[in-house]
Symmetry: C2
Subunit: 339 residues, 2 copies
């Protein structure tokens, strides 16, 4: 399996990406990687890292889509790392794309070049959150769709459930609808209608949950529209990282010397469970291909994790499952219509 990795998107530079790629290959020898971007910059990093024969190939791309570019810029920058990489997936030269670049641009280009899985109305972004009991939860959509209809939210639930099952290895993932109360009749028309769709589906739907239960570990999949999900994701990231900084600072000030040494262990423990940027990227679900968007501020560990996730995604046939599930629903609906 070949993963094509965008060298140019990470805020912390090309070196982070190269190190992440090396880490992934070391951890899983079945993964082959092509890195796309400025050959010069990539080679410079290889030299720095002192890797005599790099275990990946380099594909040149002369343009860069910056974080400030609009989503559609990528359509004009035909030799950008994002465009070149997605062409490779489209042509079957790679099976997955990993980028820490401009999310809007990656989404737009993926949709244009790869298209949607048959039956999917709207692709969506699925964020994996650490829960407070050290498990994981998939929150989706986190930003692809601002306005949604019940069928969209239903499809997010279905795709999130398959992802949680296949990639996060959760059996019969519990699916919940994010709402302002747990009762069936809570929320607006969109939520009440979506509740009905989910309740009558074969998903392991456990009902509405409130904001406080997103990361309580009670469920494995939380469904919401892309506006709410995006706000929550960004709020949580900032909240976690800043809380952590405050704790670190105050702990350090109090425990100079011996205490400082003692505190290192548990601070590290808390850090890793709160560091949302480490969680291996956000898959774009519903696209006819594999596309994992890593955080702009990704570390090499985050890039490595995103590549490993893309491998699981491919190996477990997530997209085939999504297509089959939607086909089955369509057949049932067609059956109803005939009768």
């Amino acid at each position: 399996m070949r993963v094509v990795v965008d060298a140019m998107g990470a805020e912390k530079g090309v070196g982070i990406v190269v190190r992440g790629v090396l880490g992934a290959i070391q951890e899983n020898s079945q993964i082959e990687v092509s890195i796309v971007g400025s050959r010069e910059k990539i080679n410079r990093e290889i030299k720095k890292l002192n890797v005599p024969s790099p275990p990946f190939s380099i594909v040149s791309a002369s343009q860069i889509v910056t974080m400030n570019d609009s989503a559609t810029t990528v359509l004009k920058k035909k030799d950008s790392s994002i465009a070149v990489a997605l062409d490779m997936v489209k042509n079957g030269r790679a099976q997955a794309f990993v980028s820490a670049g401009n999310t809007g641009a990656v989404m737009a280009a993926s949709l244009l070049k790869l298209g949607r899985i048959r039956g999917v109305n709207r692709p969506c972004l699925a964020a994996v959150f650490p829960t407070l009991n050290e498990k994981k939860v998939v929150l989706l959509d986190v930003g692809a769709n601002v306005d949604c209809k019940p069928v969209h939210l239903f499809q997010f639930a279905l795709m999130g459930s398959i992802y949680a099952h296949k990639v996060l290895k959760k059996r019969q993932p519990r699916v919940a609808l994010l709402n302002i109360g747990s009762e069936e009749n809570k929320g607006n028309d969109l939520l009440i209608e979506t509740f009905k769709l989910l309740k009558s589906s074969s998903l392991n739907f456990v009902g509405n949950i409130e904001g406080k239960d997103i990361i309580s570990g009670k469920v494995e999949v939380v469904v919401c529209d892309g506006f709410v999900g995006n706000v929550i994701l960004k709020f949580a990231e900032r909240f976690a990282s800043t809380t952590l900084n405050i704790v670190r600072k105050k702990a350090k000030r109090s425990f100079l010397g011996l205490g400082g040494l003692l505190s290192r262990g548990w601070l590290k423990e808390i850090s890793s469970s709160l560091d949302y940027a480490e969680y291996g990227g956000v898959p774009l679900l519903g696209i006819n291909g594999i596309c994992i968007i890593a955080h702009g501020a990704s570390s090499s560990k985050a890039i490595k994790n995103a590549i490993l996730v893309s491998f699981e995604f491919n190996k477990m046939g997530v997209n085939k499952d999504i297509e089959d599930a939607l086909l089955r629903i369509q057949e049932v609906e067609d059956g109803y219509e005939k009768n």
Copy 2:
């Protein structure tokens, strides 16, 4: 000024409320209080606290609206503490109402008994969040209105701005619209239209902000619909309290003995800045009266703070300012129509 306080709503019991009331009266001698609820239970707490002549009056109410009751139950339970207390505000026997009870019920009863301020389309709930730089921000609406129109969001901004100015003492509070990007054209039609209304208003509108900046301290007022606000509020409360517990537990385990003593200081510091339940309750803005809803899990400190906030609310004439501001806008609009 007289504040009427609901004795029956706090999850931690009547004693919490009585202690909160005593604390508020001690801190501000201009405040008079009536506690409403079961006279027997209130007297039992007074005895426990060994207060020979309580500095507040007791008003009997035989019924209780529980957390599980629907919002409209309060309309049937005419002798509930909520209903009796709001009647006192309505009849001018008290100037403000503080309750840690069922939020939906308090909202419904307030709207029915006190009505709206002239010009207000929809009352809303305004939560005060601690920011990461130890300031405060008003987030509204946090749950009164699931579906909103641009004019509603605009009025929330206006009311939030007056509240931040008068009660939180922020000069020219910076107002932002919660969105999924900072550009003017981000979000759905509701947000794009609201952006225009805010931009052309006399408010100190600084544009869109993302989820990550809600508590960054860049702005004093953040506007969103009640669905998004409610999800954020509940997520933040749970996230903060659980993070704190994790830190406490791990710190304790590492620092038995001397370390435990050392860590107490900064843990307490972090606790108070993260404890969202302490922030003096959520005012219901736009109601023709003063109504502060404290967290169900309030401590006596939270009840005390809510009472002190209600005093400021009254003293600073928040409702008069809201009415005047809306009247001015109406006059300008009428002027446009005439010309």
